[in-house]
Structures are given as structure tokens and as C-alpha cells.
């Protein structure tokens, strides 16, 4: 590819070639038998060209000299037309000349993991959850991703990054009469990490299976979550969604600048809010941190070469910085982060989350529960919805427990809650200690026109919120 790049690197004000080669094995086993075996071996090239201050893109899987020539010519033609109507005129500062490499931390590379090993793990875990005739379906699946990314630019950038990623989920569905309930490992596909084959620890997974299936059965006879305003404790595997939807998205600078208004939406956050808005209670400290080993969206550079650094987004409850790439920083004059990312070679990079983490507090979980006179604790996300300005949300969880007079009492099914972002975060009144922080993520964050999904990571302790509207199903 270097030879091809050299042919074109002087043919525009700026030229970059990004190649992606990503292999995804998506294997699903249901009731101990094959459900679906899909694999995607995706390879292609994204060409970036800057003409007269406007950046344009051409993507192709025709990575032959002829295909690249055609793609480059299309990039120039379309960008020249678009450059007459630009939203903003950029300069070369949006593409730094970074050099280096990154590799996910792993003990055994995922490309050494055989189909037989994966299938055996999924089969055994799927069968383990079938503990009772009331369990009507058990699913165990894994997405195993190896991704190689290479970037070179006429500004002198040259870096490569290799990611090993596992997304592993297990779920059991129980039915009795007209009642059906599903319990899973941390909700849908929340169990995501950059890790090697060592992730597949059968002994530990079988213990998870036992808990999943017994809780699915427990939910069949549980009472519905009450409808009332009370204290609410959210587990880290629900907090991941709360952080994602009500902190991550509203802080994206391209949303604040209005680029997403037709699709994903705008934001309640205004440029003047940075440095002033009391986003949450003083307990709230949120960081953008793509430097955490094993978290889903860690990297050394974003996809245009901006070096990744840990930065506070919210400190002691006050909004500090947005999630804006070098392009959005130049457009808005606001501070941002290294977050220019694309779903693959066939989409242009935009402002995305990476790892957005809520830092721990000073309570043990028992101490937190003991502070609740009347409340509910909820585990594992199963439903999510929020408005296009990221104010009014409603989330649902798989499993809940009632808390009365500082003690956990009965199991609750269909636990849901709703609120408004800033008042909700200002009602935060306790966080468990850093050693209770758990790390999850999502492979499916959607945004952009044309649309993109991206992988994100979120870590959080347990969090206590006061006076929240909770309710059940039916």
C-alpha cells in the first residue's frame, strides 16, 4: 500500500490512506446446538483528501492499483465540488503527523483460538443454563474480533494499531404459564473487552450460567417493580447505558455543532456550559480514557492520528470538556479529545465516544444499601430510550431487588425508571469504592449519516440516586 500511497500523496493539499482488515467470528449456540455461525473478513481502504480546506473521502474494497486510481479520482472530483460549499475551512492541524503502534493487551492472541475451542465453550455454557423444563431457551454466543488498522499521510503520519476484542453473552429465557422472563450475563452484549483467548475461562463461565438460569426462574414468580418515587441503586451493568446515553452522547461536539440533528439528534448542552454547568452532584467525576488496558475502546491514536489521552469530562459535577475531534475543536473553539473514529474503512471518521468512565467513591455496596430506607436496586440493561436532546430518558433492567430499611428484601421483575438528565445526575448521592468498578461496553453505538456503529467502553461503580421515578411492566 505504501507504493500506491506514494503515487498520490502530492496530488492534493493533504492525502491519507487508511487500511482496515478486520475478522469477526460471530458464533451462536442455542440449547446446546448450533444456531448461527457467521464470519466477516472485511478489508478495504479509506482515502482522505483535502482540497481548499475541505476534507473529502473515498472508500474502496477494490484495493488493486486500478481500483485505487479510480477511487482517488472520485475523491478529488467530489471534494472539489463540495469545497465550493464547505461548512468550515480546515487546515493541516486536523491531521497530526503521529507515528507509533498499539496492540491490545492479551496473553494468547485471538487468531490462535480455533473454531472447535469456541464452539465447545459455547455449547457447554449453553447446556449448563438448561437446568429446568421451565427454561425454554438458552443462548451462548461470542463475537471474536481481530482488527488491524494502518494509517499513513502526506503530513508524515504513520501508525498501526491491532485490536483483539471479545464480546461474549449468555442468556436464559424461562416461561411458566403466561409469564416469560429472560436473564443474561450483564445484559445483551454488554460484556465486551479487549482481551485474548484467555477470556474463555469455562470454570468461571459455568458459575455465571448457574446464576443466570436461577435468576431467570426466580423472576417468573417475582412481584412487579412498584410504581413510586424512591431511592435507586444502579449496578455497573446498567450504569454503562446511563453513562452512554446521558453523558456520552450529549457531550459529543458534532452533535452540539448540529451535524447530527437530522438523525441521532442535537444536545441540551450549549457551548457556554463548558466550565460552568453543574451537570451532576459533586460526587460525579467522569473521564474520557482510551488508555485503559482491556477496556473495549482503548487505542494509542484516534483514527486521524490524534494521540489518546485521559481527560476529565466532568469534575466534581462541573462540566469540563466535550467529546470533540480536532475538526470539531477547530470549528467550535472548545476543548476536546482524541475521538475521531469510523465504523470501518467505508465510512468517514466522526466524533465518537471511546471509553467513558465514572470514577469510584467511598462506600462499600453494603454501606450504600444500608443508607436506603425505601428503594430498588436494578441490574443489567434491557431497554433504553432517550430524546434527541438527551434530556428525558427511560431505561429498563432485567432484574431488581427491593430495599427496605437498609436491607435487600424481595426480587422484582420488569424494573424500569425514568428521569431528566441533569436533575438525575444531581440526585447522585453515593458511589461505591474504586475496587467495585466493573468494566463493560457496547459494540453497537449508532450515529452518523451515512450511519455507523462503533465500539465503546464504560466502567462504573454502583451508584445511588435519590427520589427517582421507578415502575414495573404490564
Amino acid at each position: 500500500m505504501q507504493t500506491e500511497f506514494n503515487k498520490y500523496k502530492k496530488d492534493a493539499d493533504f492525502v491519507a490512506f487508511k487500511t482496515i482488515h478486520e475478522r469477526t467470528r460471530d458464533i451462536s449456540v442455542r440449547d446446546g446446538k448450533p444456531d448461527s455461525f457467521h464470519e466477516f473478513d472485511d478489508a478495504g481502504l479509506l482515502i482522505e483528501v483535502m482540497r481548499n480546506g475541505h476534507m473529502g473521502y473515498s472508500a474502496t474494497c477494490e484495493t488493486t492499483p486500478e481500483g485505487i486510481k479510480h477511487a482517488f479520482a472520485k475523491a478529488i472530483a467530489m471534494t472539489d465540488t463540495s469545497a465550493k460549499f464547505p461548512v468550515f475551512k480546515f487546515d493541516e492541524k486536523i491531521r497530526p503527523p503521529s507515528k507509533g503502534s498499539y496492540q491490545s493487551a492479551s496473553k494468547r492472541k485471538l487468531d490462535q483460538l480455533s473454531m472447535a475451542e469456541i464452539y465447545d465453550f459455547l455449547k457447554q455454557t449453553s447446556l449448563r443454563m438448561k437446568i429446568n423444563d421451565k427454561i425454554i431457551s438458552t443462548t451462548s454466543d461470542a463475537m471474536i474480533i481481530t482488527c488491524q488498522q494502518n494509517y499513513m499521510s502526506s503530513a508524515g503520519a504513520e501508525f498501526d494499531q491491532t485490536f483483539d476484542i471479545v464480546i461474549n453473552s449468555m442468556a436464559a429465557t424461562a416461561r411458566e404459564g403466561k409469564e416469560t422472563q429472560t436473564r443474561s450475563l450483564h445484559g445483551g452484549r454488554g460484556n465486551c473487552l479487549q482481551i485474548g483467548a484467555e477470556h474463555f475461562n469455562l470454570e468461571s463461565a459455568l458459575k455465571d450460567c448457574d446464576q443466570i438460569s436461577s435468576e431467570a426462574l426466580e423472576l417468573l414468580t417475582a412481584e412487579n417493580c412498584p410504581t413510586e418515587t424512591c431511592d435507586l441503586i444502579l449496578s455497573p451493568d446498567q450504569m454503562l447505558l446511563q453513562i452512554h446515553e446521558s453523558i456520552g452522547h450529549p457531550l459529543e461536539l458534532d452533535r452540539i455543532l448540529g451535524d447530527e440533528r437530522n438523525f441521532a439528534g442535537w444536545s441540551f448542552v450549549q457551548p457556554a456550559d463548558f466550565g460552568t454547568l453543574q451537570y451532576g452532584s459533586p460526587l460525579m467525576n467522569v473521564v474520557f480514557d482510551p488508555t485503559v488496558a482491556h477496556e473495549m475502546a482503548s487505542y494509542k491514536f484516534d483514527e486521524v492520528g490524534n494521540p489518546a489521552e485521559r481527560k476529565h469530562l466532568i469534575k466534581n459535577g462541573i462540566l469540563q470538556a466535550g467529546l470533540g475531534s480536532l475538526e470539531s475543536q477547530m470549528r467550535s473553539g472548545l476543548r476536546g479529545v482524541a475521538n475521531s473514529r469510523a465504523s470501518s474503512w467505508n465510512r468517514a471518521p466522526i466524533d465518537r465516544m471511546a471509553n467513558i468512565n465514572l470514577e469510584g467513591g467511598d462506600l462499600t455496596l453494603d454501606e450504600m444499601i444500608s443508607k436506603v430506607e425505601n428503594g430498588v436496586i436494578m441490574f443489567a440493561n434491557k431497554s433504553w430510550s432517550i430524546d434527541d436532546y438527551r434530556r428525558k430518558f427511560q431505561f429498563g433492567c432485567e432484574y431488581g431487588k427491593r430495599i427496605k430499611n437498609g436491607k435487600i428484601t424481595t426480587t422484582l421483575k420488569n424494573p424500569n425508571y425514568r428521569g431528566i438528565t441533569v436533575p438525575f445526575w444531581n440526585s447522585l448521592s453515593g458511589l461505591t469504592k474504586p475496587d467495585t468498578v466493573e468494566t463493560y461496553g457496547s459494540p453497537y453505538c449508532g450515529k452518523g449519516e451515512p450511519s455507523q456503529i462503533i465500539r465503546v467502553g464504560h466502567s462504573s461503580p454502583y451508584a445511588l440516586f435519590k427520589n427517582i421515578e421507578v415502575f414495573g411492566g404490564g
Binding site: E39, G67, M78, T173, G258, S385, Q394, P450
Partner: protein, 443 residues
């Protein structure tokens, strides 16, 4: 020189099938697109991307086992055949290490077809100044998408179905501060005057939003849902509600409808209607799906979407749904409500043009939650009073399309699928507006 994709595909698949051993079966699915995406913000170009993407999925079958492996074609024959050889070697190595699949369907020859459709449209070089010029007096944000798209379902038993189309859409909204109106423009052939008229109509809708904002408290209100709002609700029928496999495996929002514990309104009929012409006539297996399939007819569940793999596993009869058992081209049949009578029939209540971010809040009860979005109004005595602040609803499909459905509009709108996640999607939906006795708003 530009490659003839159809000729290339024939040559490639013929050679691939020649490499199979006696008991091996192989099917290919093609998704090929040459897409121009122009992203607009503030009526100017934010990003322009052109994409050449040719994905092929090899479905390899042997001894009751199936594995699907998708990869990209470079359109260099030697490179692509070399890739195929390595794919085949991997499949031969991996598949025997698994167990027989309960959904296994032996490949059969479902026939031959070649379909070509083509839109006439301005070139991308022409469309950029045209769109920027048309909306120069507005704050427009959205996406132009155009270019050829090809899909095929081919197998080693002799089946060869090929579909090629070339279409465009402009999916956009106009803003005036925080107030916005949403629109689409997509036709078989570009009509400059129709486009300009539609743009003006969107600007007119935006001007209605200049009226004083109305504060509406949570509660139940008589509600009119415009076709775009109904289209958003339709998304929940896509989301596993009509999938037979999901139903069997416990995710069954329409179980009460199936068991006849609750019915939808007699006015509600939902069809899968491929005759809208926006999707391939064949499914991923190459089976020819019926042109029309009643799903819910006069309020009663008539059919789930049943793919042949699901039919095999649960010993049912296939209706040749896609393997993912999602609708491709649904239609909610029209009602009798005249466009001109909507406000009068609504009287006092909410007029909702769009809904947003809908999700199941209790799937067992077919209960959903979501938000109002874009041009939504408070109406009193048949007159629009002004735009509302966004409201959250939490309501069951049984209430919306059942006991609370007063009428559906005579007028139906067709919306081409504008989804571009990973790749462009074919398909469309045809929906009317809906007048509801009440709808429950919670926040």
C-alpha cells in the same frame, strides 16, 4: 475500465462451484454498492464520501452443517479466486468440528432471474449546488445518497437470482433555532419541480412552528400520528415481534394477539407487500416470497414471518421470509379519514408528525416507550395552537392499534428504506396516519 459486476459474478461463481467436492454445497449472496453520500449541515457540505463496496457471503454446507463467511471482492479475478481458495480451505477445516444444525436446509435450485431498475437523477456534481442553493435561505441538515446497488442469491444447485437498482434519496430536516421539520425526497425519477415543491412544503411546515410554544403536561391525550410517526411505530413490528423464531424462543410481544386474548382494531391490517417494488423478489436463500402476505388482518394475527430454517426446526410451513424474519416491504392498509378532516376530527389534542427512539418497555405486554420529535403540535378545536416541547410516551401496541384506534387516513405515504448502517438497505414501507382516542404520555 469499469467492471461488469453481473458478468464478473457469473464467472467467479462458476469457477467456485467447479472446486466443490461431491457432497459439498455452496451458496453465494452478493451485496455490491457504488454509493455517493453527501452529508449536509447548515445547508452546506459537512462530509462527502464515495464508497465502492462488494461483499460476497459464502454459505458452505456439508453433512447437516452450515457456516456463512462474508468477505470483499477486489474485482481482480486472480486475487479474488485466491481468496476463495483460502475461504474454502478454512470452511472445510472448521465445519466438521461442530454439530448438525437443527435449522439445516439443503440447497435447492429456486430458479433464475435478472432484474434491472434504474433511476434518472442528477449527477453528484449537479446535486451538491442544487441542494445547497435550494436551502440557502434555511438551516438544512441531512444526507443525500445515490448510486447503484446490487444483490444476488446464487447456489451450486444452479440457482442464480440477480437484482440491480440505482436509486437516490434526500433525507433531511430544516431547523429554525430548536424547531424543526422533517422530510424525505425519493422518487423513481428525479423531478425538479416536485423536489422544489416538496422543499417549499417543508419550509411552510417550519413556519407553523413559529407559533407560541405550548406546554403540555404528562397525561393521556387524543392524538393524531402522521405517517412518519406511524412508520417509526412500524419499527417495533420489525424488531422481532413478527418473527416466528423469536416467538418460539420466548420473545413474543404479540403472544396475546396470537392467543386471541387481545385483538387489534378491525381497521388495522398489516401486510408484507413486495409489490411496492423496493426490495428483491427473492430472499437470501433465493426463494421467491409471496407478493403479498397478510400478517395482521382486520385486527387478527394471520401469519408470523417464517423462514425455511425456522420452519425446519419447528416443523412449520415456511412463508419464505428472510432468514432474519424481518419485514422487507410492509404496508398498513389505508383507512377512511380524509387528509382535510384530520384537524377537525382530532378536535383538541396532539398532532405528532414524528416519533423517535422507540424501544420495548415491557415486551410481554407489547408495551413501548419513545419520544415525540420534529414538528409536533397542540391542537384546540381543530386549530393548531403551536409546537409542543418533546414528550415521552409509554403505551402498548394493543392500545395504539387496538382499542384506541379511531381511524386511519385514506392517504398513505411510501418511505424508502434510508438505513445506511454498514451498507445501504433495500426495502420500503407504506403507511397511513392514525387518529387515536388517547395516548399515554409520561414525561
Amino acid at each position: 475500465m469499469k467492471t461488469d459486476i453481473l458478468a464478473y459474478l457469473k464467472k467467479y461463481t462458476t469457477e467456485a462451484f467447479n472446486q466443490l467436492l461431491a457432497d459439498e454445497e455452496l451458496a453465494f449472496n452478493l451485496h455490491s454498492e457504488e454509493s455517493d453520500f453527501i452529508r449536509f449541515s447548515q445547508s452546506k457540505v459537512r462530509q462527502n464520501t464515495t464508497v465502492q463496496q462488494h461483499e460476497i457471503t459464502a454459505q458452505y454446507q456439508l453433512d447437516q452443517r452450515t457456516y456463512r463467511l462474508r468477505y470483499n471482492l477486489t474485482l481482480d479475478y486472480a486475487t479474488d479466486m485466491k481468496k476463495f481458495a483460502s475461504v474454502l480451505q478454512q470452511l472445510r477445516q472448521d465445519l466438521p468440528k461442530t454439530d448438525p444444525n437443527p435449522q439445516f436446509v439443503p440447497l435447492v435450485n429456486n430458479g433464475l432471474s435478472e432484474t434491472f431498475k434504474k433511476a434518472t437523477r442528477p449527477s453528484t456534481a449537479e446535486i451538491i449546488p442544487l441542494i445547497c442553493g435550494t436551502f440557502a435561505d434555511s438551516d438544512m441538515v441531512g444526507l443525500w445518497c445515490s448510486g447503484p446497488l446490487r444483490q444476488a442469491a446464487i447456489n451450486s444447485k444452479g440457482q442464480f437470482h440477480y437484482f440491480e437498482t440505482d436509486y437516490f434519496f434526500l433525507d433531511y430536516s430544516l431547523y429554525d433555532g430548536p424547531r424543526a421539520a422533517k422530510a424525505f425526497y425519493a422518487e423513481t425519477n428525479w423531478n425538479q419541480q416536485a423536489f422544489l415543491n416538496a422543499a417549499q412544503q417543508t419550509k411552510n411546515t417550519l413556519s407553523l412552528l413559529k407559533r407560541p410554544s405550548q406546554k403540555v403536561m404528562p397525561g393521556s391525550y387524543k392524538t393524531y400520528l402522521g405517517p412518519m410517526a406511524v412508520a417509526e411505530l412500524m419499527g417495533m413490528f420489525y424488531w422481532k415481534a413478527l418473527s416466528r423464531a423469536s416467538f418460539e424462543q420466548g420473545f413474543a410481544p404479540l403472544k396475546k394477539l396470537h392467543d386471541k386474548d387481545v385483538l387489534f382494531s378491525e381497521q388495522f391490517t398489516l401486510m408484507e407487500n413486495l409489490s411496492l417494488g423496493y426490495s428483491t423478489p427473492f430472499n437470501a436463500l433465493g426463494e421467491l416470497s409471496p407478493q403479498e402476505l397478510p400478517l395482521i388482518e382486520k385486527g387478527r394475527l394471520q401469519n408470523f414471518l417464517i423462514s425455511t430454517p425456522t420452519a425446519t426446526e419447528y416443523k412449520l410451513t415456511s412463508n419464505y421470509a428472510e432468514p432474519n424474519e424481518m419485514m422487507k416491504s410492509p404496508e398498513i392498509r389505508a383507512g377512511t379519514l380524509d387528509e382535510a378532516a384530520i384537524l377537525k376530527e382530532l378536535g383538541t389534542g396532539l398532532y405528532l408528525s414524528n416519533l423517535h427512539y422507540i424501544n420495548w418497555s415491557d415486551p410481554q405486554a407489547a408495551r413501548i416507550t419513545g419520544m415525540t420529535r420534529f414538528a409536533c403540535f397542540w391542537v384546540e378545536k381543530g386549530e393548531i395552537q403551536g409546537p409542543i416541547q418533546d414528550l415521552r410516551f409509554d403505551e402498548t401496541l394493543y392500545n395504539i392499534f387496538g382499542k384506541n384506534l379511531i381511524n386511519l387516513t385514506k392517504n398513505q405515504q411510501v418511505y424508502a428504506n434510508t438505513s445506511t448502517y454498514l451498507k445501504r438497505e433495500l426495502g420500503a414501507m407504506k403507511v397511513p396516519g392514525a387518529l387515536l382516542r388517547e395516548m399515554n404520555f409520561t414525561l
